[in-house]
């Protein structure tokens, strides 16, 4: 039964940062007091944000769905306590950008009344219906990536037919320094984790289940092994708890899969491409609670550590403002200088203490200048290759840095920029203190931006070309229409004389017209012969004729007066 026989595959590189885990791992998971207000963001998972299904003013119960999954890659969110929805509006969320995002604000009524939780008859439920229930209970990966779990629990997700999922890996490596939430969970709730693992194994139909735990957590390993023996849940295949070497980033999904099985996830692929599905131990626990208890995911374990009075782990309701969580840990100590969400290797600075704990938040580290001294000035790269030796993906970070800095993004991609998992090992070991990962994040976002711009400009170009084409076509159509009409006209006029000759009425009219014209012409000639310029005064009423006569008389008079200076006509 001992897992000692399992060969461990050592991935390339990796680093050993000071783990600081003892700061928070020594005390049991603590509960939080009920808070007057919770902020539940609608976007707590990868994919489409949940769609709110409550309105401002609605009364909700703990565990009631307040946002439903929208589309395929999505999952639901639930009320963390009973109370009233007071707002659905953009609020601070734990995101590196510091931007606000839509959240449902719930004012607690202090009663904490819950909906009735319905345990799922999971062994006799249609797998698809079961997965949809899990979606509606809000399960998402609690290791930090928060991918909706119900999708990953579908054995059909393997993209390649010859690669059905054969191995389930539970990730209990917890390789990031400072964080101990998974450690405490495994120690204290190993039985539930093990049950979750077995439910997962059954749903996926895997042959073997491996729980990988770094060997700096002997208590967790012992607890899991005990739970493995104790659990009376029906087993699909065997479950094995494997101690893996403590080496950051050994808890990266692809790294852990390699360590445990020797299988490399292809670049740009998923672990399912090699028949492996990986879940965090916290997700297994959450799944167990959902399936056997019918409870939606409304709380998780969060480590609060660093420069706080009483560091430790807390069972935190999703939606708890970070400021309240820090209060529960005794508050920030003097000269605290900011908070990290997640671990120090891959986490990010929290912009706003009002932001709530979401499903993705596993740790809050309060910084102090002693614990996290300011980074020294970056010097030029000396190509020492320490970064390349530390890179778990076997990239050449110094080359990528060179071209990222030069904004030669084609070259950076040639050095496989998009295989970078941003684990931070390169920056960690750089003797020149170059923030390499920042450069890679920059290069990635620039490339994405250019890709977007290119798409937009391609679209604009296509639109423009189509417009030009349309105008040209319309012009041509118009010209054709005219040409056709002209041709028809011509054909008509060509046919017309024949008609006329046969029309006596037309001939008669023409004769009358000709006679009139001749008369007019004759009158004109007569007048010209009489030396009278034609005056447009024929056929006028007598009053007008009189007026004209008066004007003529006046004009004659004035003209005669001016005879001395002007020669009149």
């Amino acid at each position: 039964m001992s897992p000692l026989h399992r060969p461990i595959h050592r991935f390339h590189g990796g680093v050993h940062p000071d783990d600081h885990k003892a700061a928070s791992s020594g005390t049991p998971i603590r509960a939080m007091p009920l808070l007057p207000r919770y902020l539940v963001p609608l976007r707590q998972h990868i994919g489409t944000p949940a769609r709110p299904v409550v309105q401002v003013g609605d009364t909700v119960l703990r565990g009631q769905m307040i946002g439903s999954a929208e589309g395929y890659v999505s999952t639901a969110v639930h009320a963390p306590t009973s109370g009233r929805v007071v707002a659905i509006e953009p609020r601070a969320v734990p995101h590196p950008s510091g931007l606000f995002d839509m959240a449902i604000v719930i004012e607690s009524d202090g009663l904490d009344r819950a909906v009735e939780f319905q345990p799922l008859d999971w062994q006799n439920t249609d797998p698809s219906a079961l997965r949809n229930r899990i979606r509606d209970l809000g399960l998402a990966g609690l290791g930090g990536a928060v991918f909706p779990s119900y999708i990953k629990l579908n054995p059909g997700v393997a993209r390649q037919a010859p690669s059905p999922i054969h191995t389930l890996i539970l990730n209990g490596a917890e390789c990031e320094p400072w964080i101990t939430c998974d450690d405490r969970l495994m120690r204290e709730r190993a039985r539930q984790v093990m049950e979750g693992a077995r439910i997962m194994a059954r749903m996926l139909g895997v042959k073997s289940t491996l729980i990988g735990v770094e060997d700096n957590k002997p208590e967790a390993i012992a607890a899991l092994n005990q739970a493995r023996l104790d659990s009376d849940l029906e087993v699909a295949g065997d479950v094995e708890v494997v101690a893996v070497p403590t080496l950051y980033p050994g808890g990266g999904g692809k790294q852990l899969a390699y360590t445990l099985t020797g299988l490399e996830v292809p670049a740009g692929g998923l672990s399912t491409d090699v028949g492996i599905q990986v879940f965090n131990v916290g997700t297994a626990y959450g799944l167990r609670q959902a399936v056997l208890g019918g409870e939606p995911l409304i709380s998780r374990i969060v480590t609060v550590t660093g420069h706080v009075a009483r560091p430790g782990n807390f069972e935190v309701r999703i939606g708890t403002p970070v400021s309240d969580l820090l209060e529960a840990a005794g508050g920030r100590l003097a000269d605290a200088c900011g908070e990290i969400v997640g671990g120090p290797m891959m986490g990010f600075d929290l912009m706003d203490l009002a932001a709530p704990v979401t499903k993705a938040v596993n740790c809050i580290i309060v910084k102090s200048p002693t614990l996290f001294p300011p980074k020294p000035l970056a010097l030029p790269c000396i190509r020492c290759g320490a970064c390349a030796r530390a890179c778990p993906v076997e990239l050449q970070p110094f080359e990528m840095y060179w071209f990222s800095r030069a904004k030669d993004f084609g070259k950076v991609q040639g050095f496989n920029l998009f295989d970078c998992i941003e684990c931070g090992c390169c920056s960690f070991v750089c003797p020149s203190h170059i923030p390499l990962v920042d450069y890679f994040r920059f290069a990635k976002s620039e490339i994405w931006e250019r890709e977007r711009e290119k798409q937009a400009s391609d679209q604009a170009r296509i639109r423009h070309e189509f417009k030009a084409f349309r105008l040209e076509r319309e012009k041509q159509e118009k010209a054709e229409k005219f040409a056709k009409a002209a041709a028809e006209n011509k054909a008509k006029t060509a046919a017309a004389p024949a008609d006329k000759a046969e029309d006596p009425e037309a001939a008669r009219k023409k004769a009358i017209l000709d006679a009139a014209l001749a008369r007019a012409q004759k009158a004109k000639e007569e007048m010209a012969a009489a030396g009278v310029a034609p005056k447009n005064t024929d056929n006028l009423p007598p009053r007008v004729e009189r007026e004209i006569a008066e004007i003529e008389a006046r004009r004659e008079k004035t003209e005669s007066c001016q005879d001395g200076v002007r020669t009149g006509p």
Binding site: P96, P177, P380, R383, P431, H433, P435
Partner: protein
């Protein structure tokens, strides 16, 4: 930009790396002083001083901050490596010219730390040996082999005031590599040549112990992970292979591989110069090719070139090839089928 990671490896900096390199040179310096007298102290001091002055001047001209760039210690490493490559007791201006080429031309004009294509110390050495062959080949002989042992005071006098009371003949001697070359041209049998006083147990007298100390220092660098095994192994391996092949072909005309390892600057080159990360190839396979090329050239130049030692030129030639070698030796990335040898 100020994202993760928020924590960095402790006691890790460019200056720490450079300090470790300098510390690893100390056993060899002591051996040098033991066998060749106090001249090495003077040349180390002069090269360091000239280096710092020239580096500061150029940094000022380039508008760069002096503090962090002087503190990185790279100029001192260059100075010490050049001092090790040059004869001690040479006139002071020779050190100045050498450092001028090393620091100004090879390093700062290329853009300073990390930007140079060629190893600065080797550029300085190459410029000197081409321009001042006479001064550059006047090596003090090992103590016990020469008539006069130079005191520290005399060393300063010689360097600054030129040869006064002491004639160079009293303290200089042809190096082993030099002797080997000239004697072989005179068609002397190898056994007779190796019996000459310039030769020691396996290599050059005195020099072989310094080389041993270099090896020791180099192993310290390996243990401290300042360098990886690839370059020294390939460099020394190529020397052994090439020299061994020639030795097997004609032992009468070629020195043994062991002699090549423990004479001249083979060990200095293997652990301290070819390993200069800025100018070396950087991929694991690339390092092997790069250093193998350099090691092979060392033996070829020593045997067929006009200069007695070939470490400087062979490393400079390998420097030229390093970017090209890197391009075609990119390692396989995790999850990729094959090594992405060719870069776009």
């Amino acid at each position: 930009m100020n994202g993760s990671p928020f924590t960095l490896l402790a006691n890790n900096s460019v200056s720490a790396v450079m300090l470790k390199v300098m510390a690893a040179l100390i056993p060899a310096i002591i051996a040098h002083a033991w066998f060749y007298g106090p001249g090495i102290w003077v040349s180390l001091l002069l090269c360091s001083l000239f280096g710092i002055v020239l580096e500061s001047l150029l940094l000022l001209l380039r508008g760069m901050p002096l503090g962090p760039f002087l503190k990185d210690g790279s100029v001192l490493v260059t100075a010490w490596l050049l001092a090790f490559s040059m004869p001690t007791l040479a006139p002071w201006w020779l050190y100045l010219v050498g450092m001028l080429f090393a620091v100004v031309v090879a390093k700062q004009l290329y853009g300073g730390l990390g930007q140079n294509l060629f190893n600065p110390a080797m550029v300085g050495y190459a410029a000197l040996i081409v321009s001042f062959p006479m001064q550059m080949t006047q090596w003090p002989g090992p103590i016990g082999l020469v008539d006069h042992t130079i005191s520290l005071g005399e060393a300063f006098d010689l360097v600054f005031a030129g040869q006064g009371a002491v004639s160079p003949d009293a303290y200089t001697a042809a190096t082993a590599l030099d002797t080997l070359k000239t004697q072989l041209r005179l068609d002397k049998p190898m056994a007779d040549i190796l019996a000459l006083p310039a030769f020691g147990w396996v290599g050059a007298r005195g020099q072989e112990i310094i080389a041993l100390m270099m090896l020791f220092g180099g192993l310290l660098l390996l243990a401290n992970r300042v360098i990886t095994w690839h370059i020294p192994t390939a460099f020394l391996g190529a020397i052994v292979l090439t020299a061994g092949l020639l030795y097997l072909l004609d032992p009468g005309a070629h020195a043994s591989p062991l002699f090549h390892l423990f004479s001249g600057s083979a060990m200095l080159g293997a652990f301290f110069i070819a390993t200069d990360p800025v100018t070396a190839a950087s991929t694991p396979r690339g390092k092997l090719i790069y250093a193998g090329l350099a090691g092979m050239l060392v033996v070829l130049i020593r045997n067929y070139g006009s200069y007695p030692d070939g470490v400087a030129f062979s490393i400079l030639l390998a420097n030229v090839a390093a970017p090209f070698i890197d391009t075609y030796t990119q390692p396989r990335v995790f999850g990729h089928q094959t090594g992405n040898g060719k870069k776009p």
